[in-house]
Amino acid sequence: MKRTFYSFGALALGGLAAAQPALAAPAAEAAEAVAEIAEVAAPAADMVGGGTAYILNTLLFLIGGFLVMWMAAGFAMLEAGLVRAKNTSTQCLKNIGLYSIAGLMFWVIGYNIAYPGFDGSGWFGMAGTIYDMQGVGEADLDTGYSVASDWFFQMVFCATTASIVSGTVAERVKIVPFFIFVVLLTGFIYPVVVSWEWGAGSLDAMGFSDFAGSTLVHSTGGWAALVGAIIIGARSGRYGKDGKVNVFPGANIPLATLGTFILWLGWFGFNGASQLAMGTIGDVSDVSKIFVNTNMAAAGGVVTAIVFTLIRYKKADVTMALNGALAGLVSITAEPLAPSVGSSILIGAVGGLIVVFTVPLLDKLKIDDVVGAIPVHLFAGIWGTLAVAFNTQSEVDGVTLTMGQQFGVQGIGVAVTAVFVSAASAIVWLALKHTIGVRPTEEEELAGLDQVEIGVEAYPEFART
């Protein structure tokens, strides 16, 4: 789906049609077209005027935007709960810092790289640097929604990508190199990937489909995290001789739970408002369906993770259940509208399974992912992106792809994202490593970053190290 500016030149059909944006899935599109025609035939009083539609579309972005902004708090709490107490203040600082940097960078350059004005294809472009928000009093009915609301909604997605990375590489990266990485990720790497699809670039042209960002947001964050984890290495003492995995339990499980609930809540904005419009009864109904599917995929992920860990380990590791919820959410993000409720549950459940299997796998490979962000955002993100093919097939040049072709295209999208994000991230991490350095000394790491970098203990009165 494109997240481009669309102009309503033709208002001929009246307000109702005017407010109807391009739809994500051709299948759905066809179905709605029928509905629309029926609606147009309805009494004029039932039509939604262009002004009203503009307001409602904008409102969707605003509500969706603040919900996704709230996810920044969710990541902060999830990560603060899963690191050790001695690194908790650092993790809090990183999270509020990265959210701030993402906003600034997406304004300075990011948005104009993400939406470079591609004309149906392209891999890199820029529509300028600093994003020119519409001035006060320049609201233009033709844009269909407030430009600032759209920018706000896009910006919070950008921040999400950075949050993913901070969780994986927690407890061993100094704050300055971390923030530099965030600057480049949010100002350059993420926007480039977005431009391919939502910016009407080449992936979009091929028929690649990623409704709310399983690949564009989550996998991008995931690849950056994975490459970071490899280049930076594991936390000191995490992997013993002869393959022994030393467990560093998270310091505050209720906080991690809270973080997960926050993310779950925010995801209604993430997926729901990615419908990009609610100025028609069709759109608002789609948003509703997306709410349901999003919720049910998460539920599927939770239940699967609990049942599976109960069977395999005789205990229900709560952190796996939390990761299961998130994996369910990431899985459904690529296509939260088209699947039936049953399919959504299934898609989420597979996401949950992926997590419980791949978390220990990463440990086998000595890839140290503190919060499980790689399984959740990368692996489940890939799964969700591929699973789109089961439920939606794009139309390319007037021809609808077969399910097999769609799989192919989805695979291509996954692959180019993998290559580009991994390469770009590797360059940045390596450059940081060989210049200012990424890690604290071992002694500093043992003492905890809070002492060394922040000077403020997270729980000074009861932390025991």
């Binding site: 467990v247 590791d317 952190t319 978390v359």
Partner: protein, 112 residues
């Protein structure tokens, strides 16, 4: 005077304190510790990785007692804290050279 250090299971604390009170022990100092011994901890699974801490939560009592009642204190703790299960803990008795009550400056047995 004796300085008695007892390591017991946490949930036995109230019983032991009551029993000691009833034989005239007026004070003690309590801390939470981790015990390492024959009793093994559960094997835990955290995110797919097994671990067993082997460090079990215990409570440590420190009691200064006059020589007269020291033996009785040891016995009382032993019988009250006993659950017949491994990990019930230990009682150590050291000689106490001197004791002072901070409030009054009194020294020796009257300070206890």
């Amino acid at each position: 005077m004796k300085f008695i250090i007892a390591v017991i299971k946490p949930f036995k604390l109230d019983d032991v304190r009551e029993a000691l009170g009833s034989i005239g022990v007026a004070g003690m100092t309590i801390s939470e510790v981790k015990g390492f011994g024959r009793q093994k901890g559960q094997t835990e699974i955290y995110r797919g990785a097994e671990y067993s801490t082997n460090m079990l939560p215990k409570v440590k009592l420190e009691i200064a007692a006059s020589d007269d009642i020291a033996a009785q204190v040891v016995e009382t703790i032993q019988t009250t804290a006993n659950t017949d299960a491994i990990g019930d803990g230990k009682i150590f008795v050291l000689d106490l050279a001197d004791a002072t009550r901070i409030r009054t400056g009194e020294a020796g047995e009257t300070a206890l």
